[in-house]
Amino acid sequence: IVERHLPSKMATAAEEEANRPFAGLSDVSISEDIPVEGDISVPVGPSARRDDEFSTLDEPVKETVLRDLRAVGKKFVHVLYPKRSTALLRDWDLWGPLLLCVTLALLLQGGAADSDYQGGPQFAEVFVIVWFGSIIITINSKLLGGTISFFQSLCVLGYCILPLTVAMAVCRIVLVAGSGSVSFAVRLVVVTASFGWSTFASTAFLADSQPANRKALVVYPVFLFYFVIGWMVLTFSPSQ
């Protein structure tokens, strides 16, 4: 007799279960009849200590700034001694390019732009040329099928402006001494050397990411980019 009752009870229970979710929805409240049981536990132990190591929220500000500066400085060294390493590509950052761009734009000020004549590039023009030039070259290399990522390429192109920024500083020092043809010859040599260095350094990083039959197509825009920046550095003439 019990067995005959069970199916009907199960049927009613099933109907109740079928109806219960609808009842819960119509109430728009969590029904206390549905038991929720479980065990939520956070493993305490060495993993918590690892979290503390990676959490940089509590460290002093000096530590944060110095860490980024050390990363930027390490990349500067990689640019100055370019060998085929992936350090620039692996941990890319855009602090270095920004620093170099601002320094270069500031050093290019104080030219004959203050007078009525058409002078050198304005601060904003240097920024536009450097950043839009880098972006266009990156898009070009990606369209040609490069395997390098967008920001890695921006990072490399920005960091390789370092030789030209150094040349700009040297040029300003030479111009303090005098602005005759001797100083022009010295400046020409310095700028040409640093332009060649920049192009060589950036192709050492970028050329590997392109197939062999398109390397020249990628290198030429980089050459043009550093040539234009070198031209801006060379033609800087101070106001007297």
Partner: protein, 301 residues
């Protein structure tokens, strides 16, 4: 039945597959690309300046180009296709634009249905900076040795040069393409060019001006005019020979109008650049101030 509305019962997801069918144009990597690459290699390998071969492989490319799926222009893949060139392709196209050969249509011989944007864009950019830099150097050389002259880099001229060159390289092909499209509705032409092909021809036709502009650094008027005439002849003939098949079945007045418009715009660009960026050896602000001093001195005495 209650079972169909039961959310805990497993449902067949047939509609999702149909939804994916509707979105086939979304950017995805498809295996079809492997079929296109050997076709391109076949095109590159089959390249020869011989006209008969050109016609034969033109037939092949006509048949094979139907296999390429058309990609909408807002996807990255569309532009990647426009940069699908190799170094030797670009070199051959530049040489073909600089040395026009009668009978060799640039689009048919060199482009062969694969126009690229790499050449036009970087040739225009190089030309912009070449004009600005050469103009600056030539001004410096002209005024060298004069005491009143103060060298300025004249960097603002780069923007002006960029506007002029890029509007020539993009707006004129747009106008020409629109005009040819309009004429195609009236007169059935066997030859029709796509917008990208016209932009490509115009971009590569500017390549001859880069060495010409560098030669303009030397401040000799006769040299400048010689180089302008040579450059105009070469680039003008490339353009005229390219567009001749597209308009030759048209009304003679229309043919003359289009051809002269192409040539005149080319001349305007060249002469305008020369006049604006490269000053003549006589016109100087320093000379003018010296002249004013000279005229003032007798008036005071």
């Amino acid at each position: 039945m209650a079972s169909t509305n039961d959310p805990f019962q497993f449902q067949e997801f047939e509609e999702a597959g149909n939804l994916l069918e509707a979105n086939r144009n979304a950017t995805t990597i498809s295996i079809e690309d492997d079929d296109i690459i050997p076709e391109k290699q076949r095109q590159a390998a089959g390249f020869s300046p011989d006209d008969e071969d050109a016609l034969a492989s033109d037939d092949k490319t006509e048949l094979l180009s139907g296999l390429k799926k058309s990609v909408p222009f807002w996807t990255f893949e569309y532009y990647q296709r426009l940069f699908d060139v190799e170094t030797h392709h670009v070199k051959e196209r530049i040489i073909g634009s600089v040395l026009p050969w009668p009978g060799k249509n640039f689009i048919h011989v060199y482009l062969r249905k694969t126009p690229d944007l790499y050449g036009p864009f970087w040739i225009c950019t190089t030309l912009v900076f070449a004009i600005a830099i050469s103009g600056n150097i030539s001004n410096f050389l002209v005024h060298l040795g004069k005491p009143n002259y103060k060298y300025t880099p004249e960097f603002q001229k780069v923007t002006i040069a960029a506007t002029a060159i890029f509007s020539y390289a993009w707006l004129v092909p747009l106008a020409l393409w629109g005009f040819l499209l309009w004429r195609n509705n009236k007169i059935i032409n066997l030859v029709s060019y796509s917008f990208m092909e016209i932009v490509c021809v115009y971009g590569y036709s500017l390549a001859i001006y880069i060495p010409a502009v560098v030669l303009w650094i030397l401040p000799y008027e006769w040299l400048r005019w010689c180089t302008i005439v040579v450059a105009l002849c070469l680039s003008g003939s490339v353009l005229v020979m390219t567009f001749w098949p597209a308009v030759r079945e048209d009304h003679p007045k229309v043919i003359i109008a289009i051809m002269s418009a192409i040539v005149v715009l080319n001349v305007l660009l060249a002469v305008g650049c020369k006049t604006y960026f490269f000053s003549k050896p006589q016109a100087l602000p320093a000379d003018k101030s010296a002249a004013i001093e000279v005229t003032k001195a007798p008036s005071t005495t």
